[in-house]
Symmetry: C2
Subunit: 353 residues, 2 copies
């Protein structure tokens, strides 16, 4: 097995020398691109798009056709696992994801089982294989999953954007029950990510969107602990190549030392974190990914370059930095501003040996 | 002028010896109390309630009649200032606050002026005076305002809960215009808080609900700087007594050292912050207020006491701690759980000299 022709993303994650700081953008295949909206309209719904490997491949490649990004990421949803568990994922018009059958009591939680990935999530591994073929050795493909705790939030609340009343009731009043749910989720996430690697994913990312809503001790017990288990159980090499893992807890800036010790190769930083401070805190234990404020992309090419340079200067040179936003790109972003960002990062004249 | 009979809240803020750790609860007069909902139904709308000093007094006192809380807080809304500037505050059914006339361009921002507090916000200072009389020297009364940046977010976005697209566009593309808006807001907040002190408020709190959505440098430039100016311009003594000021940035845990240097007497902590770590970081520069996860109140009296003790143990004894939640209380909280919390804090056997 050989690496992709542009392997700067993998090299930075593994802290090998890089010719330039690699960049990709969270949610890079998304609604800010007119061609994405056209494909999605053709697909029908967002879920139809996720479940159709041809169309998922098409939208995964769209941002790479526009911008010289250094990685592709599987187009999918973070809630495919609970959907495969039978919770009935759907998207209400103009709103976020919801479940028809959230798990609200002990019986529902005890009844959960790790889904059969081959049977229930074949559309995802098929998309991974097809995207990998379509990339044809150009840049690496990132597979991903929601974190066990983030999946649990959606599964218990039935939707995002709440104050987490139900999941926190469980956490504080019936912690053993939440641990049971998280254990099932962790085993499911592990199986799901393993299947993505076997289908061709060359790096993995775990999105912990809601871990930052916890206290420090609860974060370690109910979110980080389960990501640590997932990372420990993943295949770390495939076809003779290391498969690096990135862990990203939005709002986790206060806990970076602990996150960096979870066994992952890299830690994602949201935009509130000072990346210079983050590097001092984690030393050379892990690579760092991030962390431009997505709001910067609403400004001007000159301001975008200045803010991108601030992040690059903050990291301070050398390898071990994957440039990204600190959160998913907004649908209101002008695509030409992404071009300006990618150019600013690639043209950055710092020595990167 | 003498202090209230129970002055433990003021003493803790000023780091004077206290007989017990004082406690109050953010949003303590609110929808989790049936008597509040009854008064609100009688008032008509939420804004009618805020604008009627008799009813504002009634609901301010309701939680004190139920629980032996150590402070009262003015019942009002954080958006009274922009409303007085002419933006037209209203509440859509079942949703948060909105403005009829958000400020969306340079002309609208340049046209803003500090409102005449006596003319436009007399209903607030009347309520402060009336609540103070009704408290009759029992516990101190806290006045409050939104922070200049938090007010700006609502004024520009027109509502809360967005991804801050408009305010971040302004921040990164037209920073001078945002600074103009923040300067007007800071002068308005100062005048408003000063008027509350003159009407009888014995401590002040500045709520920076959205400062945590910024990068570190942007937080310091666009939020903390303006709170610092407000604090510097406030009367710090009134009628011979110090009027302590608490500054609270939700999501500001990474910037505590800077916040503690803003001139305030106390810093509010959200529930994601480790209070022991916070105390180590700020030393004895300021008192700390917080920081129980509001979600703990969904559990059981025993779990509530255990988590409250964890916060108290974390602070580590001595004065300088005002117990509170790390965010406003949820409307789903059983009132008897608040009773359990207040009891757990007051009965905590630690030496507090």
């Amino acid at each position: 097995m050989t690496r992709p022709r542009n392997d700067s993303f993998l090299r930075a994650l593994l802290r090998e020398p890089v010719p330039h700081t690699p960049i990709w953008v969270m949610r890079q295949a998304g609604r800010y691109l007119p061609e994405y909206n056209a494909t999605r309209a053709r697909a029908g719904s967002f879920l139809d798009l996720c479940r159709n490997p041809d169309l998922a491949t098409e939208v995964t490649l769209q941002p790479l056709a526009r911008f010289p990004l250094d990685a592709a990421i599987l187009f999918s949803d973070i809630l495919t696992i609970p959907d495969a568990m039978g919770l009935g994922l759907y998207f209400a018009d103009g709103e976020g994801p919801r479940f028809e059958r959230p798990v609200r009591d002990a019986a529902a939680i005890r009844a959960l089982a790790v889904p059969d990935i081959d049977a229930e999530l074949r559309y995802v591994t098929d998309a991974v294989a097809q995207i990998r073929r379509a990339l044809d050795g150009s840049v690496p493909l990132i597979g991903f999953s929601g974190s066990p705790f983030t999946l649990a939030c959606y599964m218990v609340e039935g939707q995002g954007g709440t104050d987490f009343e139900r999941v926190k009731t469980l956490l504080y009043a019936e912690p053993a029950l939440l641990h049971h749910l998280l254990d099932v989720n962790a085993r499911a996430v592990t199986a799901y990510l393993r299947a993505q690697v076997e289908a061709g994913a060359q790096a993995l990312m775990i999105f912990d969107t809601w871990g930052g809503a916890l206290t420090g001790p609860a974060y370690r017990e109910f979110s980080l602990e389960y990501m640590t288990r997932v990372v420990a159980d993943l295949p770390r090499d495939h076809d003779g190549e290391r498969v690096p893992v990135i862990v990203f807890t939005k709002g986790g800036g206060q806990w970076l030392e602990a996150i960096a010790a979870c066994g992952a190769d890299a830690v994602g930083l949201d935009w509130t974190v000072d990346i210079a401070d983050a590097r001092r805190r984690v030393g050379d234990k892990v690579a760092l990914q991030g962390n431009l404020d997505p709001g910067v992309l609403f400004s001007t090419p000159a301001a975008i370059a200045a803010e991108a340079h601030r992040v690059l200067d903050g990291f301070g040179g050398g390898t071990g930095h994957v440039f990204n936003l600190g959160h998913g790109i907004s649908r209101l972003t002008p695509p030409e501003h992404v071009a300006a960002l990618v150019h600013a990062v690639h043209a950055y004249p710092r020595a990167l040996s």
